[in-house]
Amino acid sequence: MGVIAVAGLTRITGWVFDVVSELQKRANPVKPPLLDILAPSSLAEALSLLSEHGDAAMPLAGGQSLVPLLNFRLSRPDILVDLNRIANLAYIKDVGDQIAIGAMTRERAIEESDLVRQVSPLLQEATTQIAHLPIRSRGTIGGSLANADPAAEYPAVVLALECEIVVQSVRGERRIKAADFFEDILTTALAPDELLTEITVPKAPVGSGSAFVEIARRHGDYALAGVAAQITFANGAPTDVRLAVCGAGTTASRLTVAEEIIQRYGVGAEAIKAASDAAAASVDPMSDLHASADYRRRLAGVMTSQAVEKAAQRAGVRS
């Protein structure tokens, strides 16, 4: 009798619980934490909101990484400052030997830009490998850089190309070298009141070839490892070698030892093998659900040799 009563009570309690949680779900069918969204229409207004709210506020660019981070409660701002209503933060401008890209420029606009294709094929190729078309429709270059995911493509590209990152706050403007921008996993040199507003990308030199190669378990997933390469040649010999890796450490990083090997010994098979080994030895990847540290290290080496070969072929130096 007692057993039956307990079973009945359990069933009723379970039923009440189901009904209550279903009602809660309907009343509040959302995953992100409670927050407010402010949508300024000018940069000045956005900067003053970030200054006013400090750590409690976060800029919302394309949201393609931030919304999942909010859902998972890995990020819990009280206020999102939505940058999508600020018209003059999305542009690609030709400024002499560089191009200037507004932080809110969508990845899709970069992918489709004739100017980018002509003057920075590395940036263009890397962009086509970011996630999927609907993600690139909204994802922005500024958002990707500020998010500083170690497996993302853009941090490796801006390191390889030695881009400058322009940030603004009510205190003024600073220009940060890409090499000084990425500090740790999802951590940059940006202060809480600062907004990344522009990226300047040096044009690819005459005689250069580039390649962005990455490997992922499924097309469009974050790379297990990826390498950005831009190599300038004169009379068949490398004069300037830029290699950067993503997915193989807490931040994207330059592969300086591999660069030196290619610079000194060229792009023959032996030099590429040595550079590939040096790249693998120089990275410090983490093990996670997707791949072990050892496997990522191997991949960093393989991606290095593929990127160098492709870049050299495109420069017309290797067949």
Binding site: D36, I37, V67, L80, N84, H132, L133, P134
Partner: protein, 168 residues
């Protein structure tokens, strides 16, 4: 300030509005507030593609947007494809090529395919495979989906798509 606010937008040509608290995702707003349940919600963090809709001309994940961000937007969902009982050409091709089984991913697949095909004037079979990898299907094995989208691309572009066994 976290109170619901009114969001006005155009969905499939109709001016609509509804209330959304700032944290409400656009996917939930479409389904639960506007009653447009044709848009499906799968993973709710941008991986599966089931919730893909067209916003201001481009395919986006509606679960990676806040409802309040859709203020003033021109949105197209799967409900806007058919003309009465007359299916959209891509829907007919999905039927002909057995491109769906349970159908859960189909609304997202359709919206992605429409953007993919209409934003280009030429696609190869590989382009279609890469483009359609933006959404997950757990039933079909993708063959039918690729065939249907390839046939749609041929209709829209007025020329055969480049197959993998073609030279060059």
């Amino acid at each position: 300030m976290k109170a619901p606010r009114s969001v006005s937008l155009t969905v499939n040509g109709d001016a609509l509005s509804g209330d959304a608290s700032p944290r409400m995702l656009f996917s939930d707003f479409l389904r639960d507030v506007l009653g447009k349940t044709g848009t499906h919600v799968g993973c709710e963090h941008g991986v599966c593609g089931a919730c893909t809709v067209i916003v201001d001309g481009v395919a986006v994940r509606s679960c990676l947007m806040f409802a309040v961000q859709a203020e003033g937007a021109d949105v197209k969902t799967v409900e806007g494809l058919a003309d009465g009982d007359e299916l959209h050409p891509l829907q007919k091709l999905f039927s002909e090529h057995r491109a769906l089984q349970c159908g859960y991913c189909t609304p997202g697949m359709l919206m992605i395919a429409i953007d993919l095909v209409n934003s280009s004037d030429s696609l190869s079979e590989q382009d279609i495979k890469v483009g359609m990898s933006a959404a997950l299907c757990r039933c079909t094995g993708y063959e039918g989906i690729i065939k249907a989208v390839a046939a749609y691309a041929e209709q829209v572009h007025g020329k055969p798509i480049k197959r993998e066994n073609d030279n060059g």
